[in-house]
Structures are given as structure tokens and as C-alpha cells.
């Protein structure tokens, strides 16, 4: 059994100079066969494994990761968590996730530092106001806390925003979800990995999937750099590389993979105590517990797997930041990076079975997958275990692109795709 982390274990280990901490997870070699294999050791993949083991008693499973766990978009995002989505289907999905977030540190016995400091979305023109009010009303009726703030209330909630009526696109108001906030992204992957490992899940790093073996319409296993592993169920959660895996079985997905950039400033003392997003002026910002301003930039419009976007995107984002926060002009960009996000035409994800038996896809989260991590894992685990979607992810099937029953959330993303 694992040592439980507690204030006492901290002290005990302090006396032994922290030399007795147990491994957070094992480092096993792959077995010959598993009941299910999750491709992708990011937050969503590890959460899927965790809930397969915890809720569906599937413990003879493995997560295979081509690099190190949490090294993809889990470790590259701006950590924003919110559930103020417009459509019922999305609201159901993201609020399910938010509710899990609220008890996640306790559930995992690992502090993921979920900080409900609120997320505010700003309106800069009359159509923004209509759209955001529409969302606020829909949220309220869906049981999601959301309130409309007028310009003065926006200013009061976040005093450093430039709310002058004389700027190019003045702030006309905004919506606030107080239960929303941020979490420590790496800790989410590590916490789920530790939890899944404790229940017997094999987490196999540095193990790249090279092919998927099929027998007719069913999957039989995966070819990896560590050899062939037999399984009847494969859950693909390889954000950024979903199409690469899909192409292994000649499956085309409605996805394009594009570089999404983010940056942080040097750390400073607390100056902004919430998350502020602006769609029209195209920027979002929060401050990490370390003091860095965490700023999300946009996606480039071309397909790229390089994890590097163009400088124009960063420049455009900081332009918007200085428009809304002119006090940040002398702040310095410390680090910028890119991740690869796969984007669906309707800006909503896919959590779905496919026409190939035993093959499941969880992808297309675009710029906003981190917030859904626990919910996505839970619902994907349900879908894999039962070979049927949970009612909360039924609308996020692949078939919607054929029928036309899309979940168009373009208005919900801070940055238009």
C-alpha cells in the first residue's frame, strides 16, 4: 500500500531528509495482454485509466505514452477551468468535469491546487453583450453559476482592467463564473497517474504506438516500440496526434492539428486575482501561484505538428493584453511555447466509439481540453467499459458530422478558431 500523503508524513520524512518517499508510480514493462489499452499518457488518458480501474473494476489495463506522462497539452496549457458553455450538451459535459474538480485533490490524495478564483469573460461590442447574456441565462437555467457584470462591476472585480470608455474596444460588461478557476496542470497528470498505478494500472512511458492490429472489424492489439501488446479495447486519447493514430486504421477524423501558443511573464507579487478572458480583443490572462502572468495566445491557421507557432500570434496577443492592461507594458515575457491541438469543425470534442469494434476516440478538444480532464476521463472510461456512451457524452459522437447535429461552441472559446 502507498504511503498516504499527510502533514505528518511530511514531518516524518523531513527528519529522514526526504529520503523515504515512495515512488509515485511504478515503471513496469508491458505485459503481453491487457483488457484495455489507453494510448496517450496525458491528463485525459490517465484519468480514463483511473476511472476504468476505480469505477469499472478494469485494473488489468495499461496507459502507453510515447514520451513522458503529462508531456503533451497537459503540460502546455494555461490551466483554465470553467463550465460556462452555451449548449446543454456542453454545459452537461463541462460542469460534470467541474464538479469532479471540486473534490479532486481529496479523491486523488494529491493536491492539484484547484483554485476557484473565478473566470470572467468580457464583452466589447453589442453582439458580444447579446452572446454573453445568452450564455449567462443558459448557464443559470442549467444550474451553472454565472452572473452578468456591468462595466463598473467588472472594474470592481478586477481593478487592473482598462475599462475606460475611450479605448478602441471598451469593456461593455462581462460574465463571471465564480466556481471556475485554475489548477496546477502537471499535478493533475501526476495525481491521476499515482492513483491509477496504485490500483494496478501499468503506466508505460517511452512507448510509442506504431500500429493498430485489426482482425476484420475488431481491434486485436497495438504495435509499440516495446513490442506487440494484445488487447480487445483501445482508447485513443492522443491530443494533437489523434489523426496520426486514426490514419493507422484508415480512419479519417474531422480534425485539423494546429499549433496553439502560450506564454508566461516573469513572476511578480499578486496583481490579478482571477482569470480574465476576452474574445473580441483576443486575450486571456491569469496569475499563477508562483506569480507569473499566464497568457494564452491563439492558434495559427495551418496544420503543424512542430509545437511552434508564428511570432505574429504572440505579438497579436500581447497587443491585446496591453490594450486591456496597459500597466503590463514593462512586464517581461519569460517563456513562450506551443502545443498541438486538434480542432473539430464545431469546436466541440469527440468522445465516441468508432465503426471499428473496440476502438474508441477521445479527441478534438481544441484549445480547451484541460478543463474537462476529470469529466472526459470519467465519461470515456464509461464509454469504453460499457461499449456505450454515457448520456453526458452521447451528443459528442463522431456521427454528428454526418447527420449535421453539431454542438457549435465557437462562441464559447476565448479565441476564435
Amino acid at each position: 500500500m502507498k504511503n498516504k500523503y499527510s502533514i505528518f508524513s511530511i514531518i516524518k520524512n523531513a527528519f529522514s531528509y526526504n529520503e523515504n518517499w515512495q515512488r509515485a508510480w511504478r515503471d513496469p514493462e508491458p505485459k503481453k495482454e491487457y483488457d484495455a489499452i489507453i494510448i496517450g499518457g496525458g491528463g485525459h488518458g490517465l484519468a480514463t485509466a483511473f476511472y476504468l480501474a476505480k469505477k469499472h473494476n478494469m485494473t488489468n489495463i495499461a496507459v502507453v505514452e510515447k514520451g513522458w506522462i503529462g508531456g503533451g497539452n497537459t503540460g502546455r496549457n494555461t490551466t483554465i477551468i470553467r463550465s460556462n458553455y452555451l449548449w446543454d450538451a456542453s454545459a452537461g459535459l463541462y460542469d460534470h468535469a467541474l464538479k469532479i474538480w471540486e473534490g479532486l485533490s481529496q479523491e486523488l490524495n494529491y493536491n492539484v491546487m484547484f483554485s476557484q478564483r473565478g473566470v470572467m469573460n468580457l464583452a466589447h461590442n453589442l453582439q458580444d453583450v447579446r452572446d454573453l447574456k445568452r450564455r449567462t441565462h443558459a448557464n443559470r437555467l442549467n444550474g451553472i453559476d454565472a452572473v452578468w457584470l456591468n462595466t463598473e462591476e467588472v472594474k470592481k472585480f478586477c481593478p487592473i482592467i482598462n475599462t475606460s470608455p475611450d479605448i478602441r474596444y471598451p469593456v461593455l460588461g462581462g460574465t463571471l463564473q465564480r466556481r471556475a478557476g485554475t489548477a496546477r496542470h502537471d499535478a493533475v497528470a501526476w495525481g491521476y497517474a499515482r492513483g491509477a498505478d496504485a490500483m494496478g494500472v501499468d503506466i508505460i512511458q517511452n512507448c510509442e504506438v506504431k500500429g493498430i492490429k485489426r482482425n476484420g472489424d475488431s481491434v486485436e492489439g497495438v504495435e509499440t516500440t516495446k513490442g506487440f501488446i494484445k488487447t480487445k479495447k483501445i482508447g485513443v486519447v492522443a491530443a494533437g496526434h489523434s489523426s496520426v493514430i486514426a490514419n493507422m486504421v484508415d480512419l479519417k477524423l474531422p480534425l485539423e492539428s494546429k499549433p496553439l501558443q502560450a506564454l508566461v511573464s516573469e513572476p511578480v507579487k499578486p496583481i490579478i486575482d482571477t482569470v480574465v478572458m476576452s474574445n473580441a480583443v483576443h486575450a486571456y490572462v491569469s496569475q499563477s501561484d508562483k506569480g507569473e502572468l499566464v497568457i494564452g495566445a491563439g492558434t495559427d491557421a495551418y496544420v503543424s505538428y512542430t509545437q511552434r507557432g508564428s511570432h505574429d500570434v504572440v505579438e497579436g496577443t500581447l497587443k491585446a493584453i496591453l490594450e486591456l492592461y496597459p500597466i503590463f507594458s514593462r512586464m517581461k515575457m519569460l517563456r513562450q511555447w506551443g502545443g498541438i491541438v486538434d480542432i473539430c469543425p464545431d469546436a466541440s470534442p469527440i468522445i465516441s466509439k468508432t465503426h471499428i469494434k473496440g476502438l474508441y476516440f477521445n479527441c478534438g478538444w481544441g484549445t480547451g481540453g484541460f478543463k474537462a480532464t476529470p469529466g472526459s476521463g470519467d465519461l470515456f472510461a464509461h464509454t469504453i467499459a460499457n461499449d456505450e456512451p454515457h448520456k453526458l457524452n452521447a451528443d459528442f459522437n463522431i456521427n454528428r458530422f454526418v447527420s449535421g447535429d453539431l454542438v457549435d461552441e465557437h462562441g464559447a472559446a476565448a479565441v476564435a478558431h
Binding site: 531528509y17 526526504n18 529520503e19 518517499w21 515512488r23 509515485a24 508510480w25 514520451g67 513522458w68 506522462i69 508531456g71 503540460g75 446543454d88 466589447h124 461590442n125 453589442l126 453582439q127 453583450v129 447579446r130 452572446d131 454573453l132 447574456k133 445568452r134 450564455r135 441565462h137 443558459a138 437555467l141 442549467n142 479605448i167 478602441r168 474596444y169 502537471d186 501526476w190 512511458q205 511573464s265 516573469e266 513572476p267 508562483k290 504572440v314 505579438e315 500581447l318 497587443k319 496591453l322 490594450e323 507594458s329 514593462r330 512586464m331 517581461k332 515575457m333 519569460l334 517563456r335 513562450q336 511555447w337 469543425p345 454526418v402 447527420s403 449535421g404 453539431l406 457549435d408 465557437h410
Partner: protein
């Protein structure tokens, strides 16, 4: 190592012991160690610490340093001020501001402006201490009772020429264009390939192979790009040339029962009779020897003209119209009044009453879909299993039981009030108090709305529930009598 403090990352205070702790806990990859201990993540980005961190990892794991690999060095090399990255693109240079050629007149006449895309549009013109509501009530009443004048210069304008121009329009709009007579105007809906309404506007046939298309203000650039894309990549065989002329012309729109009299004062030699110059037609004309195009088209339901004139003359023509209209109490009105007037007539605004999920059928505009045309952009998508569903959300009118109660745009509509969770059937897209009808009116999209006319519905607000009734989308002058008044 005991109780020692051999520092590795001096700024973030991580020690060699911290690295070993991370390794013991199973964080083996250099990236994991870095993130777990924050080594190398301070403002010097590990310039001094990274190599030692690697060394300790290699030593502890018993591998060669070269096999571990480095972490990625990301830009910038040293921290860079946001100010430098942004340069001069701050304040007034944050984004360009587009102003119409008549802008100065609006400023002189105390207009309040709204941002529409990059444009500054006159929103309303308060007199004395009027608030927006009061100004809009006055403006819209004046436009219906006598005459109103609107700066419509921001509408996108695309000049379309070539021997295949008609065929081109056939393919991009849902309705048919080949038979449109020269000198006539027609309203068109443009869809995305997914069948959803994308943009709309009136297009005029100037001559056999020459059209002038108008688009929404916000959609102009995207529509042009989209049309160029189809022309160059899908239909290169078509002989069509597109030119954006939005900035070349100013557009003065005068409407109201006295608009004809005003126009006749300005262009006395133009025959304005309904026979010679009927609704949805166009004439070339001269104003003080300046050539202009006059369209008799209407977005308000009133008898109305749009004068398109070279941008540099637009302000003088506007002033001329204003002078000529003074005896009729011509009243300048802004976008807010324009929105109100069109809502009274049930005319949609693409982007306000549509949101990328509405088909023409959903808008109850089935009439605009040509049954004869073999294909047009988006046609196939209209016949998918979800788009042919009868109970999709459809555009309807709403009136409040209390005629004084103005609904909030964006408010949700439900059929029941005591159920939890409650099913949202739709939302209010446009809402105004109509001075001409003396009651509150609204447009909304409601699930299965087409069949629910006359049904009672509820709009639950935070602190109250508003009772409403679903109606037809046209609130005023259903017979279109005013167009020829």
C-alpha cells in the same frame, strides 16, 4: 547528503537533494524533474542549473548524461518586455478604425457610436439629455411618420463583372439570378457549405454582366475572400471578376413616407413614379453633376432610397438630403433605430438573429431556396438527417403579455416553469419597444417554433418570469403597403 543545502537553481531554491527526491519518487524524465522541482524555471531559465541537474539525474540513474537529452530552450533568450514585443501597436494603433465619409457630420451632431467590426457606426443621436431609449423612440417614430436618414456606407460592397456573373450568383446564393432584369435588385441569402446562413444582402444588376453585391458590415471581408476562393479554386472556368468597392462609395439611405418628396428635390429630373422606379430597382442619376446610383430598396419597410455616391462626395450629398428634408423634419437615425425598424418588419440581421446554426428553413425563409437550381453553396447540407428535422429551432416573433415589458436579448425561453432542470426551447435574438406599435416586440428562435404560433411561453429571468406569446415574425404592415406609400 543529510541536512545539506547544495543549491542548483539559486533563484528557485532547488537543491541537489530536491532532484534526488524527485528521482526517488519516480520522476525520471528531465522534464518531470524540472517541473517537479522547478529547477531551471526561474527568470534565468536554468542557464546555470540545467547541466548540473542533468548530471545529478545521470549519476543517480546510472546512465550517461548524453543519453538523457536536454530540455528544450524556448524563446526568448532573455526576458523581453511586453512593450517591445507590441511596439507601436498600442492605444489608437491597437486596431485600425474605419470611419465612413460622413463620420464628421455624425460627430458634429452629437451621435453616439458603436463598434461594428472595425467600423465606427452612428448608434443614435441624442438631443439634449435624451437617453438611448428616448432617442431611439423619437428617431424610429420620425422615420415611420415622415422621414429618416441613415448612413449605410459601412455595408460591404462587391463589384461583380464578367460574362458568367449571373451563373456565379446562382451558385453562391440560394435563390435564382439569371432572370433578374437589368436595373433590378434582389435580396440574397448566402450559406456556408454546411447549410447554415452565413451572410445576406441586396444585389443589383447594373448591366448585363455587371452586378453590385452588398454584404453585412462585419462580413464584407470574409465574404469577398470566400467568393474569391470558390472562383479561383472550384470554378476557375467562370469568367467573373470581383472587386471590393466598400470604401469607394458612401451610402445615404433615406426612408419614410416623405422620402420620395425629398429625393425629388435633390434629383428633380428623375422620374420617381412607382411605374418608372418601382421598389427593388435602381437608377443612375446625377446630383449636381456628380454621378450616383440610386436604389429603391428598404430595410425598414418604408418607402426608401439608397444613394450610392463616390466617397469624397458622400458628406455633401448627405448634407444636401438633410437640407432638403428639413421641411419634413428629416431625422438622422443610427443603427439602434435601424435594428428596431427592421425588427418591426421581421427582417433578420445575420449574426444577431442567426448564430451559425440556422438554415434558411429555420428562418422561415423557405421561399428563398430555389427548387430549380441544381446546386448552390450549402444546398446538399440542407438535406442531412438533422437539417431536415421538423422540430429544429425556428425564427418566430414574441410579444410580451405586458406590452411595456422589454425582453432582454439573449434571454432563454421555456414552456414550463416549475420543472428542474428546465428544458430551454430557444432564446430571444432581438428585442425592442416599438413606438409605432406602442408595445414590446421581439424576435426569437424556438424549438419547433413554426408550429407553436399563439402558444404561451415563459422567459425566466433571475428574479422574475415573463409571460410571452409566440407570434408571426412580421409585426407591422404585413401587406407591405408602406413600401409604396
Amino acid at each position: 547528503m543529510g541536512k545539506t543545502k547544495p543549491f542548483l537553481d539559486f533563484q528557485n531554491d532547488s537543491t541537489a537533494n530536491d532532484i534526488k527526491l524527485a528521482l526517488r519518487e519516480g520522476f525520471k524524465s528531465i522534464e518531470h524533474v524540472k517541473r517537479y522541482t522547478t529547477t531551471g524555471m526561474a527568470t534565468d531559465q536554468g542557464k546555470l542549473s540545467n547541466m548540473h541537474a542533468l548530471g545529478i539525474i545521470a549519476e543517480t540513474a546510472g546512465v550517461k548524461m548524453g543519453e538523457l537529452g536536454t530540455t528544450t530552450f524556448r524563446p526568448p533568450y532573455t526576458p523581453l518586455t511586453f512593450g517591445t514585443i507590441v511596439g507601436r501597436n498600442v492605444g489608437e494603433f491597437f486596431d485600425i478604425t474605419r470611419r465612413t465619409p460622413i463620420h464628421d457630420w455624425h460627430v458634429e451632431n452629437k451621435a453616439k457610436f458603436e463598434n461594428v467590426g472595425q467600423w465606427k457606426r452612428a448608434w443614435y443621436y441624442p438631443i439634449d439629455n435624451e437617453n438611448m431609449h428616448e432617442a431611439v423612440q423619437r428617431e424610429s417614430k420620425a422615420a415611420r411618420d415622415s422621414a429618416g436618414i441613415l448612413d449605410a456606407s459601412t455595408l460591404g460592397k462587391i463589384d461583380i463583372q464578367g460574362s458568367d456573373a449571373s451563373e456565379f450568383l446562382n451558385r453562391v446564393y440560394t435563390n435564382a439570378w439569371s432572370k433578374l432584369e437589368i436595373g433590378k435588385c434582389r435580396y440574397g441569402l448566402m450559406l456556408n457549405e454546411d447549410g447554415m446562413v452565413y451572410d445576406d444582402g441586396v444585389t443589383t444588376r447594373l448591366s448585363e454582366n455587371h452586378y453590385l453585391m452588398t454584404t453585412t458590415t462585419g462580413g464584407a471581408a470574409n465574404v469577398l475572400s470566400k467568393l474569391e476562393d470558390y472562383l479561383q479554386t472550384e470554378w476557375p472556368e467562370l469568367d467573373v471578376y470581383l472587386t471590393s468597392v466598400t470604401d469607394h462609395y458612401g451610402t445615404v439611405s433615406i426612408c419614410g413616407p416623405n422620402s420620395k418628396k425629398i429625393l425629388s428635390k435633390i434629383i428633380p429630373d428623375l422620374d420617381l413614379s412607382d411605374k418608372e422606379f418601382p421598389h427593388m430597382s435602381f437608377k443612375n442619376a446625377l446630383i449636381d453633376s456628380i454621378r450616383c446610383r440610386v436604389m429603391r430598396i428598404s430595410f425598414t419597410g418604408e418607402h426608401s432610397y439608397e444613394i450610392n455616391i463616390q466617397a469624397s462626395y458622400a458628406k455633401s450629398v448627405w448634407e444636401k438630403c438633410f437640407e432638403a428634408g428639413k421641411e419634413f423634419n428629416i431625422t438622422p437615425y443610427g443603427t439602434e433605430t435601424m435594428h428596431l425598424l427592421r425588427a418591426e418588419k421581421g427582417f433578420i440581421i445575420a449574426g444577431q438573429d442567426t448564430d451559425g446554426t440556422m438554415t434558411p428553413v429555420d428562418l422561415q425563409m423557405d421561399w428563398i431556396i430555389s427548387k430549380k437550381k441544381y446546386d448552390f453553396i450549402g444546398k446538399r447540407s440542407l438535406y442531412r438527417s438533422d437539417t431536415i428535422r421538423e422540430d429544429r429551432k425556428q425564427l418566430v416573433g414574441l410579444i410580451t403579455d405586458d406590452p411595456k415589458e422589454i425582453l432582454e436579448e439573449g434571454a432563454q425561453i421555456v414552456a414550463e416553469t416549475n420543472k428542474q432542470p428546465v428544458e430551454m426551447l430557444g432564446h430571444v435574438t432581438s428585442s425592442y419597444f416599438s413606438p409605432n406599435l406602442n408595445k414590446s416586440i421581439a424576435l426569437a428562435v424556438v424549438k419547433n417554433g413554426k408550429k407553436l404560433k399563439g402558444q404561451k411561453m415563459f422567459v425566466p429571468m433571475e428574479n422574475k418570469i415573463i409571460n410571452v406569446t409566440i407570434t408571426d415574425t412580421v409585426f407591422l404592415d404585413k401587406e407591405n403597403k408602406r413600401l409604396n406609400a
